[in-house]
């Protein structure tokens, strides 16, 4: 066989192999770009989830001068042992307790989405991509997509409560009420102005309470929106991976603009609709036989994390 014939023969073998495997590296690369977009949106969602949980536990910010004055007063007026723990507590008596369990949960989540992107990185480096490899990547994406949808639903079912912010306002209201009721027992003429001041303060505290509620709403809507954005993108990537053999490069390349359109359609402005979408996507995934075997084991894990998120004073669903 001449050199020319040998080369032609090798080309035919290569083309036949690629055709049989159904996966060209170009197609894999095209899907990789979409997978990376899904990874990025998911990582943004995980950061939002972590922020939400930190905000739930953190105390309202204090000025440096307040911290200093409270510290001086705490130390000089106390009779406790001056050890490291108590000095730290004198600096910040409202510090949220550490939770290694939560930190591990968030780290593990991040790692899963990073590893998912790595799979596509590895596929990109290969001269050809087998159908099995693509199936494995899609299977992994399926799990991650369900996870995002479940987190969105769990957050929606257990909205955040800014516990320490609420407590601070309650403490202020209790003080104003005590002062007001004490004044009512007083027959002094100067009392009228003081009572008016306390009434004004109560009105201001109503605004403070409403502003906390508004912050909680924004926190919930922002986080659920981001999770739903990631979940919907994941669903589209998987649907493309499932029909990988039937799609050509142009169709796969067309997926990227679709993903961006999807992302921009989730604005959080219409939260009720978003809530319905989150419930619907979780129900769809649970009832679809392709998805349900992946979804069920994840439900318990996500609900566990959501339930342990705020250890105190979170109202339960009526």
């Amino acid at each position: 066989m001449s050199l020319h014939h040998q080369q032609t023969f090798l080309k035919i073998i290569l083309i036949t192999t690629l055709a049989l495997s159904g996966c060209s590296p170009e197609k894999a690369r095209s899907l990789q770009a979409s997978a990376l977009q899904f990874r990025n949106e998911s990582l943004t969602a995980i950061t939002a989830i972590d922020t939400l949980r930190k905000r739930e536990l953190e105390a309202p910010p204090r000025t440096e001068s307040d911290i200093r004055q409270t510290f001086i007063s705490n130390i000089l007026n106390s009779s406790i042992d001056l050890n490291s723990r108590n000095i730290d507590l004198a600096i910040d008596p409202y510090r949220a307790p550490d939770s290694t369990e939560w930190d591990d949960f968030v780290q593990d989540l991040k790692l899963q989405y990073e590893q998912f992107a790595d799979i596509f990185d590895n596929l990109d480096r290969k001269p050809a991509v087998s159908r099995d490899e693509m199936k494995k990547a899609a299977e992994h994406a399926r799990k991650l997509t369900i996870q995002m949808a479940l987190i969105a639903k769990a957050l929606s079912d257990n909205p955040p409560i800014l516990t320490q912010y609420r407590t601070r306002t309650i403490v202020k209201l209790r003080k104003v009420r005590r002062d007001y009721q004490t004044l009512q027992l007083n027959s002094d003429n100067n009392v009228t102005q003081r009572k008016a001041d306390l009434e004004n303060q109560t009105g201001e505290l109503l605004n403070e309470w409403r502003s906390i509620q508004q912050e909680e709403r924004v926190l919930l809507e922002t986080t659920v929106t981001q999770c739903m954005r990631a979940a919907t993108m994941g669903k589209q990537v998987i649907e493309a991976a499932d029909h990988y053999d039937d799609l050509d490069i142009a169709q796969l390349n067309g997926l990227i603009p679709t993903l961006f359109t999807t992302a921009s359609s989730f604005t959080g402005k219409d939260y009720k609709t978003l809530q319905l979408k989150a419930t619907r996507i979780v129900n769809d995934l649970q009832t679809d036989p392709l998805w349900s075997n992946v979804a069920l084991p994840l439900i318990d894990r996500i609900n566990t994390a959501a339930d342990r998120r705020t250890p105190s004073s979170r109202p339960t669903n009526p």
Binding site: S73, N74, N77, S78, S79, I80, N86, L89, A90, P93, Y94, P97, T163, Q164, R166, T167, R168, I170, V171, R174, D300, N303, T304, D307, R308, T310, P311, S312, S313, R314, P315, T316, N317, P318
Partner: protein, 100 residues
Amino acid sequence: MPNTTTDTFLRQTADVLSNLEVRYQEASFDEQVQLRDLLDQAMNSYSSARLTLLKNKVTSTPADIAKMNQIKRDLDRAIDFGKLMAVSTKLVSFLTSRFF
């Protein structure tokens, strides 16, 4: 299917914890130092009890609601710090013995 007894019990416990947090913020620094560990323990016990109940590993009963009501009344009446510490200890002890 929502479990009304569990929901009532969890809501009551959350209210008790919220009251305890208020009392912590109102306490003097010396008192905060003494109360801090108990407050953290109470929060963690509630968190675990909540999970245990929601997973139906343990079922809450009307007796649990009555007990938590009693703790709430004791907390409302605990004007001096010694009583506040005693009620907080009772709360942690009840949650850990009943739901673990």
